[in-house]
């Protein structure tokens, strides 16, 4: 299943403003606790790391475990310092990564 990330970042912000970021990615976050109809366990497949960078500098990183719901949603904050790009990366335990970017203009 391909994971589709979506992010919402304001297009403009005042310098020093703390702005809100909303992210969501479609992913089953299979915890490995569930069993299929025939009783066999469904193999674990989760995103275990999320990173947000602002012009290449880390703002927030997050480690996730099996208790994070499917299609993980995350809302957090960031301080506007300069115009540039925010990059969001989701790391799957299996080695796959999914990225999304958003540009912001700081006035």
């Amino acid at each position: 299943m391909s994971a589709k990330p979506r992010v919402r970042v304001p297009s403009t912000a005042k310098k020093g403003e703390v702005f809100e970021i909303k992210t969501v990615i479609s992913h089953s976050m299979e915890s490995g606790q569930r069993k299929a109809a025939d009783g066999s366990p469904i193999p674990r497949k989760i995103i275990d790391k999320f990173v947000c960078t602002y012009n290449g500098k880390e703002v927030m990183t997050s480690q996730w475990h099996g208790a994070v719901s499917a299609n993980p949603y995350l809302e957090f904050f960031c301080t506007a310092t300069e115009s540039g790009t925010l990059e969001f990366t989701w790391h799957d335990e299996g080695g796959e990564t999914y990225t999304a970017t958003a540009d912001i203009k700081v006035t």
Partner: protein, 159 residues
């Protein structure tokens, strides 16, 4: 007098037996019910002690969520830590635990002064009614803990 005594005895014997029976069942049920959460809570406790480097202080950390979550599969949870978030005084990390889940670790967040606010809103799975706790580690090494009990109608960890 003797007749009365006999009937009372007979009655009490039957009552005693039933009482003993239910008592045993109740005791057995209780031990089964308490055994698992106690073990899970202990490991969450261990993890918290390890992260905090001791027992964290109460306060500063706010965990928010619904009073009652009907679906344990997606329970919206907000964590917020009071901090000025300046270069020399900020929240380094926040670790979220659910004592009553098969695995108590939920998520961890590493913040920077750039974050501006030590805040995260996300959705978690909860197996049953339990206390969701968050431990915050500050830049000066101190640690704080906060929590909230969330009642769960239908557990979210599959069968």
């Amino acid at each position: 007098m003797s007749v009365l005594k006999e009937t009372r005895l007979a009655l009490s014997r039957r009552q005693l037996l039933t009482a003993a029976g239910t008592g045993l069942v109740a005791a057995a049920g209780l031990s089964v019910m308490t055994a698992r959460p106690a073990a899970a809570a202990a490991s969450a406790e261990e993890l918290i002690t390890k992260i905090a480097g001791g027992t964290p202080k109460e306060g500063l950390v706010k965990v928010d969520g619904p009073e009652i979550a009907e679906n344990g599969n997606t329970v919206p949870v907000t964590i917020e830590v009071e901090s000025p978030m300046t270069a020399d005084n900020y929240v380094k990390s926040v670790h979220v635990f659910a004592d009553g889940n098969p695995s108590p670790e939920v998520a961890a967040f590493t913040f920077t002064p750039q974050s501006g606010k030590a805040f995260a809103k996300f959705r978690i799975r909860l197996a049953k009614t339990q206390n969701v706790r968050a431990v915050a580690v500050m830049s000066d090494g101190s640690s704080y803990v906060g929590g909230k009990e969330i009642k769960v109608t239908i557990g979210g960890c599959g069968g």
